[in-house]
Point group: C3
Chain length 178, copies 3
């Protein structure tokens, strides 16, 4: 009696949301999950500008009304004045998961020294795990490859469906003793 995993994908970018350029974050996220997941899933996508109140409202809608088990944002985590994704994510958090931010930066630091500038956070709101990912498709893939092994067990613990992964892409880890 498994249920379908519901994933919210939120691309946060002033320029992509106003049509100045094509959003590349949502396709990169969708592509990764298509390759990585074996169990049933569906996604809901949003493309919004770097406005903190709007990001907060979008995350709350996807968590509380749409009941997404997993919400991924892309973009808006740097030091520039318009980058407010982490502030919006922390503002709607019930629990902060500091290991995700630390490990996402540690993974990215293997590729670029400027990963230190990323302010990504991971939080839980109700029964939703929310993770901030980088904006670039290459960095999105590197980050998910580096941290997703722990996500299925986290979703188990907060009451979501059992996620099965494609071991050629990622192997879910669930501790035996827990």
């Amino acid at each position: 009696m498994n249920t379908t995993l519901k994933i919210g994908l939120v691309s946060i970018s002033d320029r992509a949301s106003s049509g100045v350029y094509q959003d590349a974050g949502l396709p990169a996220l969708h592509d990764w999950f298509t390759r990585a997941l074996r169990s049933p899933w569906q996604s809901i996508t949003r493309l919004i500008p770097d406005e903190q109140a709007l990001i907060e409202a979008t995350l709350i809608e996807l968590a509380d009304r749409e009941a997404c088990h997993l919400i991924l944002t892309t973009g808006g985590t740097g030091p520039a004045p318009r980058d407010v994704t982490p502030e919006a994510t922390l503002a709607v958090a019930h629990k902060v998961m500091p290991g995700f931010g630390e490990q996402m930066r540690a993974v990215s630091l293997k590729f670029v020294p400027t990963a230190i500038l990323s302010r990504q956070v991971g939080v839980i709101r109700g029964k939703s795990l929310i993770l901030n990912l980088p904006g670039q498709p290459k960095a999105i893939k590197e980050t998910l490859d580096g941290i997703f092994a722990a996500v299925p067990y986290c979703i188990d613990l907060i009451g979501g469906p059992t996620i099965e992964t494609n071991p050629e892409i990622i192997t879910a880890f669930r501790p035996k003793s827990a």
Copy 2:
């Protein structure tokens, strides 16, 4: 004129505190300190459920009234709804010590990818260092092996007794220039 190190050991678990199963955290902690410490020490133990207000009250009692120099919690640091040990610990903190949480997760990540889900923190309250440890005996030992080298110097700096360790288990590090 050394004084005895006073250690508070707090196991936080709904099931162990209600007798559903035997607590394994306090014995694991006691065993590690028995092997690791050479200087005199005594411990005070508590076994309590995952209730934030009770955890806070217990930490305050052990720090302020019992004057424990070091307080170790075990359990309650994951993402599940009842896991509130980090929130309780931060709520009673005078100073946050972010390096402990980071390094405890980095140490555990060498053993299991799901260490990223641990929300452990380290804080100072008055003259007490409070550290959240994992719940599993194996992870308790791995974490203490990985971070305890810095604890004696921290206790020095906050006005506690000089801790001497058994170098077969852990070698305390005290910088010369400080």
Copy 3:
């Protein structure tokens, strides 16, 4: 049409500021930047005691009135009761940059296990990047060697001048795709 990089250097120490001993932090910082920077820069220095309100006022003055692009503090980041530099820095922050604290500790941990006790943070206030460095000259150099590659790009993103570095000391990294 480059402008001169303005660097605020703040040594925070009760004993050095009262003349009990000679401050070693400001000379170490000045020396590192003299060797590391090729583009024009100037510095403003302050030597103050470990008083939180005074540290906050000094950081605000250097950021808002002196318009420093980069502010480095040295000292006051440990667990001792008088160590309040991180609290003062967070109190004046507009954005927290968690990667700097994490990576500064990770770099220092390669040299001493007690690096875990450092509570250093990095933040942005307006157009200023503020970083807490350790107090010891050797640790100051090790830390700047380990994290400065990402600083010029950060200063770019918050609207400061283009920093050029001496590649024998440090190579600035700027991602191509950003």
